[in-house]
Symmetry: C2
Subunit: 233 residues, 2 copies
């Protein structure tokens, strides 16, 4: 598999990678500067830069002007995982996607949710509980708050026709957010909705989405038992 590059910059990159892995250049060591490597590999400095820059982005090298480039001391493996829209994820597994609204109301969020939403007391939010199904079996259910001050249009959207997730992605430009994964134990309520046993271990994903400083939406998605989140190293 390795060594199948046609590119110069990829060839340089894998050779550098090889030297790091073979401990020819060890963690903490400085490696030759771009110009020297360019000469060694018989290519332009820009090409070396392209190779090294990406390795730095991946966390394998530390680069600083004038100080040079060194092999990262505590290499932390970076896993990239992509969180697709649930419909896409379910359909990509060959299942038929369907979703239903369990409850919908406009209300002021309770104290616990208010902090996450950065909401002032009395501010109205749309509270949605929805269930996403794969082949008629519950796959994940979500408990979501949407900030109506940030997204007034959401008040009159028919979320049975399009999931909140998808509607938001399509209609609300957003800028960032946080995501956290944790393990929870199925409550009686969880079990009833997901049709699993009370006490099962469930993966939960908490997400907050921001736009212009405001929290647009905060959601907890609770997955069916046995759900695995996979990534490549």
């Amino acid at each position: 598999m390795r060594g199948a590059e046609i590119n110069t910059w990829q060839a340089v990159q894998t050779e550098v990678l090889r030297r790091i892995r073979a401990h020819i250049w060890r963690p903490g060591d400085a490696i030759p500067h771009e110009e020297a490597l360019a000469e060694e590999f018989g290519c332009a400095r820009a090409t070396v830069n392209r190779a090294l820059r990406q390795l730095a982005e991946d966390g394998l090298l530390d680069r600083r002007r004038k100080a040079g480039t060194r092999v990262t001391l505590n290499p932390s493996r970076k896993a990239k995982l992509d969180i697709p829209v649930l419909r896409v994820e379910i359909e990509s597994k060959g299942m038929r996607y369907f979703h239903e609204i369990v409850s919908r109301e406009v209300a002021a969020p309770p104290l616990a949710a208010r902090a996450r939403l950065q909401a002032k007391p009395g501010e109205e939010h749309l509270h949605l509980v929805a269930l996403h199904m794969g082949d008629d079996a519950p796959y994940v259910y979500e408990d979501r708050w949407i900030n109506l001050a940030a997204v007034p249009k959401a008040r009159k959207v028919d979320f049975t026709a399009i999931s909140a997730n998808e509607w938001l992605v399509r209609n609300v430009p957003f800028e960032g957010g946080e995501i956290a994964f944790s393990a929870v134990v199925a409550t009686k309520r969880d079990a009833a909705i997901l049709r699993c046993a009370q006490g099962d271990g469930l993966m939960a994903i908490d997400r907050i989405t921001r736009r212009a400083g405001q929290v647009v939406t905060a959601v907890r998605q609770t997955f069916k038992p046995g759900y695995q989140l996979q990534a490549q190293l």
Copy 2:
């Protein structure tokens, strides 16, 4: 925060991003080609390329030769999470790190583990169970198999002095692997080791590390209750 670029390519990137988010260029739409954008922004094509290439890597654009560049239709959020060596993670939280070996034996893995290890019957592996502590409280425990055929040196390493995790990172060049996150329910044994209640929801991480086609090590790490894995969107 936005608009604080000094670079041309970053300025181009955020402007493109803005147009995507503002739905000036909508999902599925083709955007102008590099040369046109270069002219519009008054910069070189290489600069536009740099900006767009990264957006494509982030999954916001789809680019194909001759076909051009379009806004991704089903934008799946990509979260980057880094998995540091446990010692570093624990120490970075201001806790004192300590680890102990619960059990250690050389054995042929049982059938269930053999598949994951791609091991032939009778092949010897090192089986390690270790507990990582933060401030004297259990943080995570791991059940690990190390392929002695791939890493013969491991047989006589003192893993009380350095954790297997760290020793492997430092001493075995590796090429790739898989990682999976799931939620499990604490068994009696889990509870005893982690000093938690049986039935607690625990985050589990399964990892397989390869080198030259061989599986170097397969490990399951089971975290203390309440553990959260966080990432930025």
